[in-house]
Symmetry: D3
Subunit: 154 residues, 6 copies
């Protein structure tokens, strides 16, 4: 399938699909759509009981893959708040993992670029962070799926 | 594309795709996968500033479409908590909409059926609620995407 | 049973039992214990979907039954924070009822007096607010028990 | 006193009394009532600054005393959420202990069995977790009482 | 006093002083400092039990006084999140006023301009929202002071 | 400038100015005002990623500077809750620092004394805790200002 059908998706939907589809073949279509529309993006994985490690992994991926300029506090500030928002969805009510005896195995996507609200295109770049994976007890199989999404102007 | 490639997806991923894909053709594949694997599911839409209306719309859809037995408190209790979890992702930190001057336009999916964690299939039914849409100011276009997901045994 | 066995209970335990026991005969023993030890206390009931009404009912009971001096902001401030703490237990994570489609039927107790921590008696008066009852859907029987407890110096 | 007067108590009230009464003679009456009505239950104690240890102690007690089947994720999931709900009452607003310089000394009860809402008996088993004890500064006597209660279908 | 001594203050300190000083003569010094350094700013007042009115009053002041461009979602998004952050300080734990029987009388400041972190000046504009006033019971004098501060890139 | 103009400020405003003004000359005026009106107060600094250290530093300053009696649980309880309230403003939504990869550099003030609400002077002593400083990434300059304020009867 060509990427046209997805390239009209809003940026958040593309970020969510990127994180959720993982190795499914549709992901290629989503990636082609992102490239066609000029977005910068990356995907990564992190597993931890330690919230700090999860945040650091996503921030580092954003910097190392040039989604954001690591020397710009403006951009670091924008992506940090998008990550925290996404983790509020992942944690549902408590932004804590190991402290409350939960461990996570997560795939995350970071997408940066234009953003259209309804018929209008909003000026400047925006950043979307989607996080999908499992959360649960530190015992194989005793975990279930979770998702979170954060969005910010950058 | 046939539905085989998605029918091995875990239940949460199917619920998320159902809510996110909306009218895209991939949704048919997801629906065929859900049917092939014996899941019960429904999709609905709700727009409101009032959190109470959003919860009621999702609960009513679950009952009217026979995803849950409306006479069983056990099932109503399970779906209520899954909805609240999903709304914690949608609201990111505050489970409030109109009170803090936000309005939402949401598509939700409810999926009920078996659940496998890793290689094991867990006994009994489980319920997934995915909510995708926009949240923002009560002004056209001044809103951005959001997602939430709740999951429970039923 | 004479009240001696309970009169050595700490003030919070007495407040909890007062709210939980409702019409059971043990409540008389608890009340005699409270009187013997010189506590001021009251019990009340409130049913509502509206958090504001629940807070007002408890505050009013504290004032009308002379547990606190309604002209002293110091005392009103102390009891307000004890009520909010108790409602955090009742609501478990969200201090909201009707907004998230829940209704409550609550029995509350307010106890004021001395307070011993371990072997030491702490100076001055303290106030305990215990709230016990049901929380759930606005449908008869579709609700379950809940409890909350707040404590403050006064 | 015979146990008849308490055996009609709802399951949550029994769980709360079990945790609160500790070594008082009324506890025997409550236990006889629980046994007469066919509930499975256990009581335990845990003292810690570390939230993770408190959760682990309660989960382990539920498994070791056969209140839940430790091989069933369904049951582990149910009890985990009941524990977190109870800890929201204990912590009142913050599900944190040591991180915010608080330590706890807690008695907990776990009760599993039937559940009646009003005149109706709801199908299947339900689980109640009650936690009672002290919370405060890490200094003897500089602490006060607290309670929390969580409830779930299982 | 001339404004030089304050014009080196960081933007947040200036915003906080603007809201806190109200009619004190030091406020003129702060305003001259803000003008000398090229900041855009405004001050307003709002009293309400309704959180929605407080947010709307601050947003409207930002728009009407040209602190932000009301046609730019980017700028509206930035100021909205700064307001919510400031209200988290005002409400301390609950972003609710009337729902939990509290009323507020607030003075707010909004300051937009450059921002230096340590020795470096960060690129672009930033926005600070400071809110100072009273919170309490809906009874004259039964209230105490509160402050909140939000900050964002714009 | 003589201190008369500020000595009529309410206690919270004085505490906020004390923490915010740091080494600016206005601080002397504020301190003279506090002394003239008979308040007890202290100022301190703490930098940490660890919330526990921040709380301990403020509590210890209150005790060592005789703002509170360290042997009175009543007073320790009052100041603890004022600190937590202030930290809710500092953290805006999450009472966590290092866990979510944030570090803080804070100046705090603690003021104890009389308190007037409107035209009335409320009986007894009250305590105000103001915390001002920076919060951000553990990288020099990648941080911004924050403030929090807690208030309690003592």
């Amino acid at each position: 399938m060509d990427s046209e059908s997805v390239s009209k998706f809003p940026v958040g939907k593309l970020a969510i699909l990127l994180a959720v589809l993982q190795d499914h073949e549709w992901r290629r279509t989503v990636e082609r759509g992102l490239i066609a529309e000029g977005y910068r993006f990356t995907i990564g994985r992190v597993g931890a009981m330690d919230m700090m490690k999860v945040i650091a992994a996503i921030e580092t991926a954003a910097k190392n893959n040039r989604i954001i300029d690591s020397e710009s506090y403006r951009e670091v500030h924008a992506v940090y708040h998008a990550i925290i928002e996404a983790l509020q969805g992942v944690g549902r009510g408590e932004v804590q993992f190991g402290n409350i005896l939960r461990t996570v195995g997560l795939t995350f996507s970071i997408v940066r670029g234009k953003f259209s609200g309804g018929p209008v295109e909003h000026e400047g770049d925006w950043i979307a962070v989607a996080i999908y994976g499992t959360i649960g007890a530190p015992k194989k199989g005793f975990e279930h799926e979770t998702i979170g999404f954060g969005f910010n102007h950058i």
